[in-house]
Symmetry: C2
Subunit: 186 residues, 2 copies
């Protein structure tokens, strides 16, 4: 397998592992095991653990952004809103590690900025802005609606992270589609 292909599978494996354990709660050995490769080999593919985390974080934003962009393609306003809400529901059901990784990325910023890692926060914030713009335009550039959509998304992320089963009361009041699929499967 080529190094580039390996790097891809490392990113996928790292996303799953970091999504569960966060940066400090995930060992490079766990990632290597999931990839099916020796642990030291990771350091040939990436300069270090932080680089792996960052690559996974960026890939994660890419995928969510792409899901929203594809869902809303050619649509505006309410139609785009529903399309994107459904798309997010699919992400929750099929790729829960994407949103868990997002959460892990957010909480990693403060610690990273306190240590020397001052580039990390910029990357995360840039990712958020990319997500923001991606939903902003299809929603007719309406700031309030964009904020609303993202706010509900973050609430859903938190509920999923906490492990509330989809039939639980807390899902009342959310997109019906999200309610029916909110379980984080293992």
């Amino acid at each position: 397998m080529s190094a580039e292909e390996r790097r891809e599978s490392v990113i996928r494996a790292a996303t799953a592992e970091f999504a569960r354990g966060g940066y400090h709660g995930t060992s490079t050995e766990a990632i290597a095991k999931r990839v099916g490769v020796s642990q030291p080999y990771l350091f040939r593919l990436f300069p270090g653990k932080k680089a792996i985390f960052l690559a996974a974080a960026e890939r994660c934003v890419d995928e969510v952004v792409r899901a929203f962009a594809e869902a809303s393609e050619g649509l505006r306003g309410e139609a785009a809103l529903h399309a994107m809400a459904n798309a997010y529901t699919r992400v929750i059901a099929e790729r829960p590690e994407l949103l868990m990784m997002q959460m892990q990325t957010y909480v990693a910023v403060a610690a990273a900025e306190q240590e020397g890692e001052h580039g990390f926060g910029d990357v995360v914030r840039a990712g958020w802005m990319r997500l923001w713009e991606t939903v902003h335009l299809p929603l007719g550039a309406d700031i309030d609606q964009t904020t609303d959509f993202l706010a509900y998304g973050m609430l859903i992320n938190c509920l999923v992270a906490m492990g509330f089963p989809p039939e639980h009361r807390v899902w009342e009041g959310l997109y019906p589609s999200a309610r029916s699929k909110g379980r984080l499967e293992h």
Copy 2:
């Protein structure tokens, strides 16, 4: 100082440290240093690191719940909403570690449940329900408004975690009061 008083200051110190580094990114020595006590002594006050984390997490929920309950005391509907929004703004400005610790608690659930720690998720979810009820009643038991309020709260948490400065565009569309004070100070 009595053991009980010490435990209190450990909880305060642990909240601050865990809020920054999360469970795995925080050493018991860092907590001990902040308390001004030797690291082994923590294990006389608490059975282990997990117990310290859990105590801090529960305390954190207590304080936020109390802030909301006090703010909304005697108020209903819109008045209660504004009072609680202002209260949350004050928490953001004065006790940012409370909301960062909440985020850290949420992302810690999945990892904890995967290992043996199956009680942890229940505690976190119970804390969320307590918070939910605390805002639900003053808002006239309106589920949609409750969901809305909490959704905006979670969005604010994420923005604060990412370190967006209060004058940044992403704060547009949020409570004006939150916009003016959203910075996480160090």
